[in-house]
C-alpha cells in the first residue's frame, strides 16, 4: 500500500515538474536561447540613415582671354595717313606671355603723284581699302602700377609684340611682319585701356621696283577679360 502511494506520488511529482518546465519556457524564464544571427558586424549599434554629402565645389572662373576693339591712325607708306579701326583677341598663357590676333582696316589716301597730276588714279576704290590680320606673340616686359592722384593705383603693363600675318592692299594679299609695343592700363581687374604703336612691313612693287613698305600704326583700344 505504501509503495503504491509512493509510485503515485512520484508520478504526480514528475508530471508537475514537466508541466512547470513547460510553463517556464512559456514565460521566457527558461535557459537563454541563442539570439538570431545578426547580419550587422558586431559593434554597429545604430545604422546612420544620413547619406554622405558630396560637396560640389563651384567652378573657378578663368579669365585668360582678352577681347576688344581699337581706333587710331595708320600711315600707309606713300599713301598718307588715315583712321584705322579693328578688333583684338588675346589669350594669356602665363603672366608674361600672351598670344594675340588682331584685324584692322583703313583707307589709303592719295600719293603725291596722284595729287599733283590732278586726276590720274593709281588704285581703284576697292584697292585703296587696306585690311590686315596678324597673329602675334606678346610679352609683358614691364608690369607695374600707375598712380592717379594720391588715393588710386591702377595696374599697368608695358608689352612688346611681334608676329606674322597678311595685308590686303592694292589688289593683293601681302605677307606682313609686324612688331610694336603697347601699354595696358587696367581700369578694373577685367577692363583695360590700351595704347599701341606698331609697324607693319610688307613688300610692294606698285611703283615699278619692289620695296619693303613701313606702315606705322598708333591706336587706342579697350578690352575686356573673360
Amino acid at each position: 500500500m505504501e509503495s503504491r502511494f509512493r509510485v503515485l506520488f512520484l508520478i504526480t511529482a514528475a508530471g508537475l515538474m514537466t508541466g512547470c518546465a513547460a510553463t517556464k519556457n512559456l514565460f521566457g524564464m527558461g535557459p537563454e536561447a541563442a539570439p538570431p544571427p545578426s547580419s550587422e558586424p558586431p559593434g554597429q549599434v545604430i545604422d546612420p540613415q544620413v547619406e554622405r554629402q558630396e560637396v560640389k565645389e563651384p567652378a573657378i572662373d578663368r579669365e585668360d582671354f582678352e577681347v576688344g576693339g581699337f581706333v587710331g591712325i595708320m600711315s600707309i607708306e606713300d599713301f598718307g595717313t588715315n583712321v584705322v579701326y579693328g578688333a583684338r583677341l588675346a589669350y594669356h598663357l602665363t603672366e608674361g606671355f600672351f598670344v594675340e590676333g588682331t584685324a584692322g582696316t583703313t583707307e589709303a589716301g592719295e600719293t603725291s603723284f596722284e595729287i599733283l597730276s590732278g586726276g590720274a588714279q593709281l588704285l581703284s576704290d576697292s584697292e585703296r581699302q587696306l585690311t590686315y590680320y596678324n597673329l602675334n606673340l606678346g610679352y609683358n616686359i614691364l608690369p607695374g602700377e600707375g598712380f592717379v592722384g594720391e588715393g588710386r593705383a591702377y595696374n599697368t603693363n608695358l608689352y612688346l609684340i611681334a608676329g606674322l600675318g597678311s595685308t590686303r592692299f592694292a589688289g593683293d594679299d601681302r605677307f606682313t611682319v609686324n612688331f610694336g609695343a603697347g601699354y595696358r592700363f587696367l581700369l578694373t581687374d577685367a577692363i583695360a585701356l590700351h595704347i599701341d604703336f606698331r609697324d607693319h612691313l610688307f613688300d610692294i612693287d606698285l611703283f615699278g621696283e619692289e620695296k619693303t613698305a613701313h606702315n606705322l600704326e598708333g591706336h587706342l583700344g579697350i578690352t575686356v577679360f573673360f
Binding site: G68, A87, E95, L137, S166, D189, V224, F225
Partner: protein
C-alpha cells in the same frame, strides 16, 4: 567713329562700315554687362588658409607688392583665376591676387588640398586639345598656318589646318585634315609622322601671270617634332611634302618647311 574725308567712297560702303562699328560697340557693352552679372550671381569657391599666412598682391604678376596677409584658418573666396594667379576675397571684402604656389597650400572645405591643376610634361603627352600657329616656306612662298588638334590617344591625333599662302607670283589658301602619329609621346622632344589630304586654292597675281584661279586637291606626307618647353607651351617644327592633283598632265610637288608654337589644354 570719325570718317575718313575721302569723297570717293560709295555710300553703301559707308553704311556697312558704321554698322560694323555699331556692332563692335554693342558687343562691348554686352560683354561688360554679362561679365558683371555673372560675377554677382555665381557662388564662389571657398578655401581655407593652411599655411601660416596667405600673401595678397596688388596685381597678377611678379613684382606687384604684397599689401595684405590672410592668417591661417581664415577662409577666402576665389573670385577669378588669370594664368597662375587667383583673385581672392577675404570675409571682410579685401581683394588681392595670390600666386598658384601659395594657393596650393590652402584647403578645400572637405579638408583636402586645393588642386591647382598645374600643367606638366604628362599633360603634354595626354592633353586632348592643342592649338598652334606656324609659319614658314611653301615652295618659295610664305605660308601662315593655324591648326587645331584632337588626340585620340597619346600616340594618334587628328588635326585640321588652315593656311594662307603669300607668294611673289600667286596667293592662295589651303585647308587640310591629317592624322599624326607620335612614336614616343612621352619624350620631351617628340617626333611625329603625318599623313593628310585637303584642298588648295591658288590665285595667280594678275599683274605678273595671266591665269585663272584654281582649286585642286592635295595630299601630303610629313614629319616633324613637338617640343615641350614649359607649362602649356609647345614648339613645333615640321616638313611636309605635298602633291597637288592638278587637272593638267603633271601633278605638282611642293615642299613645305614650317616652325611655330602651340599650346595644349
Amino acid at each position: 567713329m570719325s570718317e575718313p574725308s575721302t569723297s570717293t567712297i560709295p555710300s553703301t560702303r559707308r553704311k556697312t562700315r558704321s554698322a560694323f562699328a555699331d556692332l563692335l560697340v554693342v558687343l562691348f557693352c554686352q560683354l561688360i554687362l554679362t561679365g558683371n552679372v555673372q560675377a554677382a550671381e555665381e557662388a564662389l569657391r571657398q578655401v581655407a588658409v593652411a599655411d601660416p599666412y596667405l600673401e595678397m598682391h596688388t596685381g597678377p604678376g611678379r613684382g606687384y607688392p604684397i599689401f595684405h596677409v590672410v592668417d591661417r584658418g581664415e577662409n577666402v573666396s576665389i573670385v577669378v583665376q588669370r594664368t597662375d594667379w587667383y583673385l581672392v576675397r577675404t570675409d571682410r571684402g579685401t581683394e588681392g591676387w595670390v600666386n598658384r604656389d601659395q594657393m596650393e597650400l590652402t584647403l578645400n572645405p572637405d579638408g583636402e588640398t586645393f588642386n591647382v591643376q598645374r600643367a606638366t610634361i604628362e599633360d603634354f603627352t595626354n592633353a586632348k586639345w592643342e592649338i598652334g600657329v606656324l609659319a614658314g616656306d611653301f615652295g618659295g612662298a610664305n605660308i601662315v598656318s593655324l591648326y587645331g588638334s584632337y588626340s585620340l590617344n597619346p600616340y594618334v591625333s587628328v588635326e585640321a589646318w588652315g593656311s594662307q599662302i603669300l607668294g611673289n607670283f600667286s596667293n592662295g589658301w589651303t585647308g587640310s585634315v591629317n592624322v599624326v602619329h607620335e612614336a614616343f609621346p612621352e619624350w620631351r622632344v617628340s617626333p611625329f609622322f603625318t599623313l593628310g589630304a585637303g584642298v588648295i586654292h591658288t590665285e595667280p597675281k594678275s599683274t605678273i601671270v595671266q591665269g585663272e584661279d584654281r582649286t585642286d586637291q592635295i595630299g601630303h606626307v610629313g614629319a616633324g617634332f613637338r617640343v615641350y618647353t614649359a607649362r602649356r607651351f609647345v614648339v613645333r617644327a615640321e616638313y611636309k611634302s605635298y602633291v597637288v592633283f592638278t587637272s593638267r598632265d603633271d601633278n605638282e610637288e611642293v615642299e613645305e618647311w614650317k616652325v611655330g608654337f602651340a599650346f595644349f589644354f
